[in-house]
C-alpha cells in the first residue's frame, strides 16, 4: 500500500502548477477556437466575402432562433426530435442487450445467427426506409423504427463480443464454486461488461440522432430533421443552421449525460 504524502516538495508544487496551466490553456484554446470560428463567420458574412443567403451567419441564426422561440415552434420541433431519439435510443439499447444475452446464453443459436448479424451490421439501414414506411406507416413510428434499426445491431454485436471475451479463468472459478449459468451472468458477465455497455451508450448517442434525423428526412411533419429538409427546399439556410445548432447542443448534452455514467461505470 502506498502512503499518502502530505508535505509536498517544491518540485511537486511546480509540477502541479504546470499541470494546471496546461489544463487552463486547453480550456482557453477550446473556447478560442469556437469564438474565432463564430467571429470569422460573422465577419466574412457582414463584409459579403461569403454570401449570407447561402452560408447564413451567427447573427441571423440567433435572430431565427428568437423568432422560432417567440412563435413557440422551437420547443415543439425540438421536443419531437428529442422524443423520437430518446425512444429509439432506449428501445434499441435494451432490446439489443437482451438479444446479445440470448446469443451468449446459447452457443448454437449464436452460431446460427452470427452471419446474419454481420450482414445486418454492414447494411446501410437507410435502404430499408421505404419498406419501413410501408410497414408501419409514415410518421413517428417509422422514425423511431429507423432509429432502432440503426442502433440495435451495433448494440447486439458489441455486447455479444464483450460477453464472449470475459476471462475464461473467472468463469472457471465460478464453475468450481458451482455457480449456475444465471449466477455466472449476474455475478461476472454483467459487472465485467459494464464499461462495454457504457461504450455502447456512447456510440448509440450519436447513432440514435443519425436515425431520427434520417427518419425525419424520409417522412415527417415536425422535428429538427424536418426543419432542415424544409429549410433546404425553400432556401432558408438560417433555418437549416438554427436546427443544426440545436441538434449540436442536444447531442452534446446527451453525450455529457452518458459521460457522467462513464465516470461511474466506465473502464478505469
Amino acid at each position: 500500500m502506498s502512503k499518502k504524502i502530505t508535505n509536498f516538495s517544491k518540485t511537486h508544487k511546480q509540477y502541479v502548477r504546470r499541470l494546471r496551466t496546461t489544463k487552463g490553456l486547453i480550456i482557453f484554446f477550446r473556447i478560442f477556437v469556437l469564438v474565432a470560428f463564430v467571429g470569422m463567420w460573422e465577419l466574412l458574412a457582414q463584409t459579403h466575402i461569403i454570401d449570407p443567403f447561402f452560408f447564413s451567419c451567427p447573427s441571423r441564426i440567433v435572430k431565427q432562433l428568437i423568432q422560432m422561440a417567440q412563435a413557440g415552434t422551437l420547443l415543439t420541433h425540438t421536443w419531437v426530435t428529442l422524443y423520437e431519439t430518446l425512444l429509439g435510443f432506449a428501445i434499441a439499447t435494451v432490446l439489443g442487450y437482451i438479444i446479445a444475452v440470448a446469443l451468449w446464453w446459447n452457443e448454437k443459436v449464436r452460431k446460427v445467427f452470427e452471419p446474419y448479424i454481420v450482414v445486418l451490421n454492414s447494411l446501410p439501414k437507410i435502404a430499408l426506409g421505404p419498406i419501413i414506411i410501408l410497414w408501419v406507416g409514415a410518421g413517428t413510428k417509422a422514425i423511431v423504427l429507423m432509429c432502432i434499426l440503426i442502433c440495435i445491431v451495433i448494440t447486439t454485436m458489441t455486447m455479444m463480443n464483450a460477453f464472449m471475451s470475459v476471462d475464461e479463468g473467472k468463469i472457471l472459478l465460478l464453475k468450481s464454486m458451482h455457480a449456475n449459468k444465471f449466477q455466472i451472468f449476474r455475478k461476472l458477465i454483467v459487472p465485467n461488461t459494464m464499461p462495454d455497455l457504457v461504450s455502447v451508450l456512447k456510440i448509440n448517442v450519436g447513432m440514435s440522432w443519425v436515425g431520427s434525423i434520417m427518419g425525419e428526412y424520409l417522412t415527417s411533419k415536425a422535428g429538427l430533421g424536418y426543419l432542415i429538409v424544409y429549410g433546404g427546399q425553400v432556401f432558408k439556410i438560417d433555418l437549416v443552421m438554427a436546427a443544426t445548432v440545436i441538434l449540436c447542443i442536444l447531442a452534446y448534452l446527451m453525450y455529457f449525460l452518458v459521460s457522467l455514467i462513464e465516470k461511474k461505470y466506465g473502464r478505469k
Partner: protein, 256 residues
C-alpha cells in the same frame, strides 16, 4: 492413515475434430488426510486435467475417484485455487472473499461469514476488507484468493500453479504464507507445479507423471526438516531429491 483423495485406474481421453487424445492412462495415487501432495510432470502431460477431474469440471472416461472414501463426490467439498487469483476488480476484498457463499447459499451462511472474518483477521487482511483488489500486492491477492477458497470449508484444496504469476521473491514468501495457512487450517492439498523445488519444499508427497498419456512414474514420500517451505529448502536431502526428480523428468523428455 485415512485418505482424503484416491484415484483408482483413472483414464481420460477427449476428442478433437481431427484426433482422439489419450490424456490420462491408468492413474493411481492417493492423498492422505491433511497431507500436502504435489503433481509434477512434463508440460502438457495432464496435471491440470487431473485437478479438473477431481473438481468435477471434467468427467473421467473410466476409473474411480474417491473423496473421503466416498465414490459419489460432493464437489462442494473441494476448493480450487487457480494460476491467477481471479479477483473481481469491481468487488471489495470482503465481497470477493464471500463470493462463494453468495453463490452456494449454504445453510450455515452466518457461520461461514464469521469464518471469513476470522481468517481475514488471522492472516492480516482485515484492514483491507473495504478496499478493491487493485490496491493489494501480488502476494496479498493470492492470500485473499486462498481465503476465498477456505471460507467454503473444503476438505480438499486443489492448487493449480498458484504462484507461477508471482516474481521469485514474492513467490517464496507467498509459498510460506499459503503453506502455513493450509497446515494451520488442517486442510488436505494437491498442488500442480512446474517448479521442482517448490514441490519439494511444500509437499509431504510428490507424484511424478510421465509424458502424455500421463501415468504415475514415481511417488516420493518426503520428510524434510523445517517448519516452513523456506526452511525445508535448507534440508540436506533437498538437492538430492531435486536431482532425482529432475533426472526423471529429463529422461521423460528424452523418451518423448
Amino acid at each position: 492413515m485415512e485418505n482424503t483423495l484416491e484415484f483408482k485406474n483413472v483414464n481420460y481421453y477427449y476428442q478433437t475434430p481431427k484426433d482422439e487424445i489419450f490424456a490420462l492412462n491408468n492413474i493411481n495415487f492417493n492423498v492422505e488426510k491433511q497431507a500436502f501432495a504435489s503433481l509434477v510432470g512434463p508440460s502438457g502431460c495432464g496435471k491440470t486435467t487431473i485437478l479438473s477431474i477431481t473438481a468435477g469440471l471434467l468427467k473421467p472416461s473410466s476409473g474411480q475417484i474417491l473423496l473421503n472414501g466416498q465414490n459419489k463426490i460432493d464437489s462442494k467439498k473441494i476448493g480450487y485455487m487457480f494460476q491467477r487469483d481471479h479477483l473481481f476488480e469491481w468487488r471489495s476484498v470482503w465481497k470477493n472473499i464471500t463470493l462463494g457463499i453468495e453463490i452456494q447459499k449454504p445453510k450455515d451462511k452466518a457461520e461461514k461469514f464469521k469464518l471469513a472474518e476470522e481468517l481475514l483477521k488471522k492472516y492480516d487482511l482485515y484492514s483491507f476488507i473495504n478496499q478493491k483488489p487493485r490496491s493489494l500486492s501480488g502476494g496479498m491477492r493470492q492470500r485473499v484468493a486462498l481465503i476465498r477458497t477456505l471460507t467454503l470449508e473444503p476438505d480438499l484444496l486443489l492448487l493449480d500453479e498458484p504462484f507461477s504469476a508471482l516474481d521469485f521473491q514474492t513467490r517464496l514468501s507467498v509459498c510460506d504464507d499459503v503453506y502455513e495457512i493450509i497446515k494451520s487450517e488442517k486442510k488436505t492439498a494437491l498442488l500442480v507445479t512446474h517448479d521442482i523445488s517448490e514441490a519439494i519444499s511444500m509437499s509431504d508427497k510428490i507424484i511424478v507423471l510421465t509424458h502424455r498419456p500421463a501415468t504415475v512414474k514415481d511417488e516420493l514420500v518426503l520428510n524434510l526438516e523445517g517448519k516452513t517451505p523456506l526452511q525445508k529448502r535448507e534440508d540436506k536431502n533437498f538437492s538430492s531429491l531435486f536431482d532425482k526428480i529432475w533426472r526423471e523428468l529429463t529422461n521423460e523428455q528424452k523418451n518423448n
